[in-house]
């Protein structure tokens, strides 16, 4: 279908949007028109490319050349030099930070070279709003095979062979879940897709929905065929307007092509999908709560069993899978379960998408084969820690997860191995933390989140998380007393064992894992009234150590309240009266001179 000489795949993901992609697009479009190139070169706005750190980014196809940090002012030079004269613009190419070497081809940039794309195979490669481009890359072929060639049992068998496990957190084998729902009695069955993506720090589902919405639809249709469902819903966060727009368009196009709705591809099989917008409640990501929310009720979980495979939405047999899980299904049916399982570890097959952020150079989305070590992911793909600081820990799995310290960085990405070191694979949020992160403060942060989002139905979670937060507040504000840490441990134990749903059962994890690896930091707060990472304002002195101060004036420049006095070649000093304790100076000082 490509009559164009060049396709300019400009990232239209949220990240690049916010760094000015639309302004650049306008400038580039105008320039192409001015040079009469708009017929041979076209701009395609794609979903998130993944390399958000250097946005706005653009891939020139078929050459494979990757441009970064594009500004409207660059349009003229790009068109003149590259698109007319064939000379890529050096200053806009990727430069390897360590070696300063310029790498023009996207696939050779370390960030991309160490990845393996399956769930995200189309990201940045197609126009997400075009069903034809999806089909041109073998889209809906797996679905066609499922409805026309395979029996439901064969579909389920194929998914079981692939070893695909739920990517929404718990890692339950998808094929097994479908098997239960297929066997369940019921005239009406449902297939739901969980696009609630509540874990703060995870954004892969959003990116898949924005970059490749049809892949999710295809997975849902196959699941529906496997269990005999006639209706599906995608439960999407209301905070994701672009994802909702793209999904709506994709559903409409699929219906027009006879890929969704009645008598799909002439097979006699009917299935249709609607989008259901969430209304801002983290707990609605939990499966039973999500179903109640679609029923129009307060989104509170209920005890299981009965499991949704038997009694789910409106008490009918229901399969719920995460966005990323669904996005893998089409390829599995097309290429076979064995193909999928050829990558990975004994118990974790295929690839996993991670959203890497925090104190790491290459912030963005990465998809890696299972079994790769955390170290490789953070240092080779992620490019290590910025500002020459030291790595401290990596948080995996969000509020239900835990942190992994330096000594366990060689743990492979694998559901069981990660659990062994006290974290979880979770939905794939990877937050890298450097030495300036206080672990007590981090635990406090997650507990604040959980106690805010606890739905209130069961007491251990509602009251227990509040108590934990109070104790952590007390410790962080310098009022910790001996015995506090032990009470924390007791509370965690009770909440873990007696809460109703996964929210409460996993809520203590961030506290437990920080206690496990960084107990001395808790001790320092409680017994010495000291915050080793210098984050807890109540425990800081806000004075400058004259021996350490290099008189550079950085603190003076960043202070928002004029509380710092400094002159060239003089030690800075802080006026406690004017100080608002914002910690800007702590962050700015490179010599650790502020106490």
């Amino acid at each position: 279908m490509n009559q164009h000489r060049l396709d300019l795949m400009l990232c239209g993901g949220t990240g690049c949007h916010a760094s000015g992609a639309s302004e650049f697009k306008e400038a580039l479009g105008a320039e192409l028109e001015r040079q009469n190139l708009d017929r041979e070169i076209r701009i395609i706005e794609t979903g998130c490319n993944g390399f958000c750190a250097v946005g706005p980014v653009m891939l020139v196809q078929p050459e494979g050349i990757f441009y970064q940090q594009l500004q409207p002012g660059d349009a003229e030079e790009l068109v003149e030099e590259h698109f007319l004269k064939g000379r890529p613009v050096q200053r806009l190419l990727y430069k390897e930070p360590a070696s300063k070497e310029t790498i023009p081809i996207m696939d050779e940039i370390p960030f991309f070279a160490n990845q393996m794309f399956r769930a995200m195979r189309n990201k940045g490669q197609i126009d997400p709003e075009s069903i034809d481009e999806y089909i041109a890359r073998d889209g809906y072929f797996g679905m066609a095979r499922a409805v026309n060639e395979l029996t439901p049992e064969e579909i389920i068998e194929e998914v079981k062979t692939s070893g695909l496990r739920g990517r929404g957190g718990a890692g339950f084998p998808a094929g097994v879940k479908w098997g239960f729902a297929a066997k369940a009695e019921g005239d009406i069955k449902y297939v739901l897709c969980n696009a609630d993506e509540g874990d703060p720090g995870a954004f892969m589902d959003r990116s898949i929905l924005e970059a490749d919405p049809h892949a999710v639809l295809e997975g849902m249709i196959i699941a529906a065929r496997a269990i005999g469902a006639s209706r599906g819903y995608i439960y999407c966060r209301t905070e994701y307007p672009l994802a909702i727009d793209r999904l709506s368009l994709a559903i409409e196009n699929a219906r027009n092509y006879g890929l969704l709705g009645e008598d799909i591809l002439g097979s006699g099989f009917d299935f249709d999908i609607d989008i259901y917008q969430g209304a801002g409640a983290f707990v609605c990501g939990e499966e039973t709560a999500l179903m109640r929310s679609i029923e129009g009720k307060r989104g509170m979980p209920r005890p299981r069993p009965p499991f949704p495979a038997n009694k789910g939405l409106w008490d009918r047999p229901t399969v719920l899978n995460n966005v990323e899980t669904m996005a893998n299904v089409g390829q599995i049916i097309l290429n076979g379960g064995e193909w999928y399982a050829s990558v990975g570890t004994e118990s974790s097959k295929g690839t996993k998408v991670f959203a890497m952020s925090g104190d790491v150079n290459n912030i963005g989305l990465v998809e890696v084969p299972m079994g790769i070590t955390l170290r490789k992911m953070i240092f080779d793909i992620g490019g290590g820690i910025p500002k020459k600081r030291k790595f401290k820990a990596v948080q995996l799995g969000g509020p239900s997860g835990g942190c992994v310290p330096e000594k366990y960085l060689d743990t492979p990405v694998d559901y069981e191995e990660i659990a062994k070191v006290g974290a979880i694979m979770g939905s794939g949020g990877v937050i890298v933390m450097d030495e300036k992160t206080c672990m007590v403060d981090m635990a406090r942060f997650f507990m604040d989140f959980i106690q805010d989002e606890s739905c209130g139905k069961c007491t251990p979670c509602r009251e227990g998380t509040r108590r934990i937060l109070e104790i952590l507040d007390k410790i962080a504000s310098g009022h910790g007393t001996p015995g506090d840490i032990e009470i924390l441990e007791d509370l965690c134990d009770v909440i873990k064992t007696s809460s109703l749903c996964g929210l409460g059962q996993t809520a203590p994890n961030p506290v437990l894992s920080t206690l496990r690896y960084f107990r001395e930091e808790y001790d320092a707060h409680v017994y010495e009234k000291r915050c080793p990472a210098k984050r807890c304002a109540a425990l800081l002195k806000f004075t400058v150590d004259p021996d350490k101060c290099k008189k550079c004036g950085m603190c003076y420049k960043v202070c928002p309240s004029g509380a710092i006095t400094w002159q060239k070649k003089e030690v800075a000093s802080i006026d406690r009266e004017k100080c608002v304790q914002c910690l800007a100076c702590y962050d700015a000082c490179r010599y650790d001179a502020i106490e």
Binding site: T14, G15, H17, A18, S19, C52, A53, G55, E197, G198, D199, P200, G201, A202, F203, R206, R237, T238, E239, Y240, P241, Q277, G278, A279, G280, A281, F282, S293, I294, E295, G296, K297, R298, G299, W314, A355, S357, G358, D359, I363, G364, L365, Q395, G398, G429, I431, M433, T437, M442, F445, F446, F449, E453, C455, P560, V580, C582, L583, A584, D587
Partner: protein, 159 residues
């Protein structure tokens, strides 16, 4: 039947249409509340009553739903909604300082609206733009890498 100073006759007409088209759909409360809030800007208690009668549901059910989900606001909102992300990635990158500064400068906390109804401030958990952390959204626009000073500068542009 529905009279409230913030609800104009045109709004009332829209509300009636929304209710009529969802009356017979089971589980329609949340979409109806969302659309009505889009029309009026928030959900006054009188409107919640009106919706419950229209959908033929107990008041307590509709009220229960409206108070459970953070999307719904029962008090008037500012002309601009400022959503500061307090998600993990943004937190690690020091968004707390920006949030504090905004709060102090405009004298509002999370969930509050300035007296002149210029801004409503909301702390949200992850806007899905962690790559740009710390992140703030003003109405529909996302701003990344906000330091306290920049956040205030950006807000100055919104009247």
């Amino acid at each position: 039947m529905l009279s409230h100073p913030d609800i104009t006759p045109e709004m009332k007409q829209r509300i009636d249409e929304i209710i009529a088209s969802h009356k017979d759909t089971p589980g329609a409360v949340i979409p109806v509340l969302r659309m009505c809030q889009d029309v009026v800007g928030y959900l006054p208690v009188e409107l919640i009553d009106y919706i419950s009668r229209g959908l033929n549901l107990p008041r307590s059910d509709v009220y229960g739903v409206a108070t459970f989900y953070s999307l719904f606001s029962l008090t008037p909102r500012g002309r601009h909604t400022v959503r500061v992300c307090l998600g993990t990635a943004c937190y690690v990158k020091g968004v707390k300082e920006a949030m504090d500064r905004i709060g102090r400068t405009y004298g509002i906390g999370s969930g509050e609206t300035t007296d002149d109804r210029r801004f409503s401030l909301e702390a949200v958990r992850c806007l899905g733009a962690c790559g740009l952390a710390p992140v703030m959204m003003v109405d529909q626009h996302t701003y990344g890498g906000i330091k306290p000073d920049q956040a205030l500068e950006i807000l100055e542009k919104y009247e």
